[in-house]
Symmetry: D2
Subunit: 324 residues, 4 copies
């Protein structure tokens, strides 16, 4: 059994990890660290786990675990790793944005590999340290990677992506206040969202030239999921686009091409990314949908863990969609 | 024109008062006091008012206004009134629960009248100080008053009432966090909600005996409105019940008896209370619905103001329902 | 008093018209025609009106009314007008898309003027027949008209607009089934929505050249409102853009420029359109928000009626926002 | 492998069964029958299954399957079974209300056992035909069974239970229209809901006397889940009540007693029932929450299948809660 430690277990991504690991056939949760909830039962924060665990949050760390998940706020993973010396065998999967960009990927004696399995499966299998991608970054890269691979992102790409409230985390804020957010729509950080760095880096690694992206992130009045539309000029026909995507994702168990138009809820509470292609005149519209907490965070982290340990990629991730 | 001052104008009930007063034909907003927003435009907190006002919140108080609305947290109205001496002509309408119960109604040299027009219209007309009823208390009293008047609340009354999130105010809290509350239902304070005091007091004033109430308040996953069901033993038939309600509310412009079953949204964003009667065997089920921020707070406060100043009761309250 | 007839009064736009007209100081509803509800009380379809009207739907038409509102499905207005001969004084405001395009505007002996007051106020004042604009078309035109007027829509314009479910009307459909739509997001008619015709026609009338628009309409999981983002290249700075919009909307009582970022709910249940300008590098982002049933339909129809009859443009439209 | 047939596979409960069975380690879906979708891919109705199955709905029935699930509208199961002769080894689990009541349980040569494992586990293990309980009936029985077992339901029991929209199924209706239901609350069938029959039958089997129940079912503005409150007079203290429940559910893997107050979402998308006990004066309040489509329908059907085939009760039902 893989012994697992979770740092930051009382938040949303930490909670999702526990939900997944508790049913994973090859893992055993060694400890769940939380400074705010130490000593209290895990079920006090994650009430759905009643009857499934009677463990408590701790404020101590076992540095000998086989794998460590860091579920800390952005900027805090580095600070945490500076405090502890983990065993040489300990693999680390970081869910923050601390190590995602190339110039952040080297830290202490550790090299972090960008954990997007659809792009770097082999590197992940051979890695010890993983920088787990951002949620918007996952949805958008999966929508664009096949085009970048074919060198076809030569014109502006226009992206609108709407996210559920869990993307903003467990912290209270005016834009996650129910009375404000219910039935409301708004944007934030137009054209400047921090995930553009990851996205641009990946696309450039495939296409060897900068891609010009206009990205409008929006706050939706739902809890889970990201629904992204991306369009750009594309000279080929729909069949050619389809062939590119089918080929690129031939070995990707969680990324599905849908001939039918997609809606957000068909991926909620799964680790799937569904992609739909639509051609209008000389514009290709790519729509992608993921669960921001799963394929966009904790599910993908488990997928990376599976790859790190030589397990089937889908182990513990065959989830029942909520759907309704 | 009636000069109006609002204390606590950046919260929900304060905002609703501004929305109503700005279109009221006989009022003029003199000042809107807010310690947290003083100096900032009112539209920074209430963005819908863009183009309708360019006033700012203040931290000074004009003690000569004709009417003062207190929109402070419970317990803070007394403290506020101890700091200021208002003109002898100033009428005061308090939206907190500080003065609603008989033993709280006398404060300084002021006598507060309980501001439920359906019960105390004459007293309100002659009053200077009004304790505006609570939201649950309004919905529940309007459902039960005609029975109490007829002395028919002799058996247990069972009440379930579900409220929108705005009932919890603008303050951030875990139960008003969107990710928690969306699609969720929960109860709080079963059988002990603080509004039971007001309710019991009014019913007893009519019926001259204690009424035994079982009240389950619930948190709904919507923003506005209260939907209450109340049932008790009733020996008469539906026509007799209907006659009691029609008679009791004959002069109440905002309380309507619906022969058809009611749903919450038919009163949202209005000052109406809709009531439906249903008889099953020897049980009478009374359903009532109000907008918690209007008939349950700021709308009723304006209704009381109209009565205090001899205006038509509906002035400034002929509102378009949101309905959808 | 202006005598009003409504054709198609049991649907959403018909209902909103009744809600507005019932409180309008200069109108009197003469009849509300509905083939499906004829003979039944208006409150059976629009329960919020309980106590405000006890009229019934009719299946007869008074051809002598002063103004007639047509709230029929697209394509049905022409058919209806072919059946009846209205008085020579009867003004007609059609809410369908039957007469909006120039080549549809001439019908029988009637000339329909496109009823967007921000663009054609003088023509509307002198008109007898009005083609009321579409909801998306209103939100998008108001976002773009000042740029078109200045001849600045020379590059591609990228638009994403998300609409509430009431935009789809009262008819039952799988994409308006609650279990499907709640917490869901999806698009429809990408780049080909039928409102592009109206939009292009208006923009071209100002700028004298075709505008290239990429329009992605989306279905949101809320009931009321349209939230639109539109961006294009703009060489000037934000102050120059602001000056264009301020100047263009100087006489528009319902179109407000917001210095602060806007969110959808600040216009819901009002006739307002709020616009926010944001500049990033050489891109100008224009965000607009309206209530699809009011400024996007019935509210604008009343605004047009006011203009037709020489009344103040805002008469009967000073509405309390729902806001929460 | 257990060969499974599903009748009525394009609806909600059929879809949930497919979602569960596709990951169940001991089952193989033999056919999914749907008259409306025959010939079309299962993913056309259940888009989340993209990549997980490429089977199609059929209009033919394999009468040799090991287990058959009937997901037909109430009243249609009998009609269906009259048309087909199934193999003598075929077990049948019916999700309608056709066979739940004692006087319906005998049909043709078949005896249906009421499939509530918490009450009839041994009988289910030995049965061939199962009448799967109703959703409200499950939530309410699980809240009351321990009290009935102890003979303590001697006074009136007052129940309020609110259900998600999926309880009304895939059929379009005015009360499941998004524009109506979003942000709305309403009741239906007060005191007369058809599940009262099942509930009363079970309680009486334990307590040997009629139980007087007042049941108010409500429609909530969410998709999944039932949240029920039930209270009655109870002379003992909270510890005594807790002991009764702990004892009764000692062997029930899906029914958990929560010391902390519960909210609906902690069980959504799981097969769990969470129960909370609260004592106020001499009233015991029992709150229960289930997912109406899982523990209230398809999940419980799988639980019954597991029991019928001697599998661990939780096989294939260790589900990740949606939680948010």
């Amino acid at each position: 059994m893989i012994k697992v430690g979770i740092i930051g277990g009382s938040g949303y991504t930490g909670g999702e990890l526990i939900r997944l690991l508790i049913h994973h056939p090859h893992t055993e949760i060694d400890f769940v660290y939380s400074t705010t909830k130490a000593g209290k039962p895990i079920t006090e924060a994650h009430e759905d786990l009643l009857g499934l665990t009677d463990c408590c949050f701790t404020d101590t760390v076992n540095t000998e675990v086989n794998v460590l998940f860091l579920c800390l706020g952005h900027g805090n993973s580095k600070a945490f790793l500076e405090q502890y010396e983990f065993a040489s065998h300990t693999r680390i999967i970081d869910l923050s944005n601390d190590f995602r960009l190339t110039y952040d990927a080297q830290f202490q004696n550790k090299t972090f590999v960008y954990g997007l399995p659809e792009l770097y499966k082999q590197q992940i299998k051979n890695a010890q340290y993983i920088a787990n991608p951002g949620c918007f970054a996952t949805a958008i890269q999966l929508a664009l990677l096949p085009l970048a691979m074919a060198g076809l992102l030569k014109n502006d790409v226009h992206i609108n992506a709407i996210t559920g409230s869990t993307g903003a985390g467990i912290g209270l804020s005016s834009t996650s206040h129910f009375s404000w957010r219910n039935n409301n729509i708004s944007w934030y950080k137009p054209f400047t969202h921090q995930h553009l760095g990851e996205i641009g880096q990946s696309l450039k690694s495939l296409q060897k030239q900068e891609v010009s992206i206009y990205f409008m992130p929006q706050r939706g009045d739902f809890t889970r999921g990201i629904y992204a539309t991306a369009y750009t000029k594309f000279e080929g026909d729909l069949d050619q686009a389809t062939a590119l995507y089918q080929s690129f994702y031939a070995e990707a168990p969680f990324t599905q091409l849908s001939a039918k138009e997609i809606h957000l809820k068909q991926v909620v509470n799964t680790n799937q990314c569904h992609i739909h292609l639509h051609k209008h005149e000389n514009t290709l519209l790519v729509t992608s949908a993921i669960d921001n907490l799963l394929k966009g965070a904790s599910g993908q982290a488990i997928q990376n863990m599976n790859l790190l340990f030589g397990l089937p990629e889908t182990e513990g991730l065959q989830l029942k969609a909520t759907f309704f």
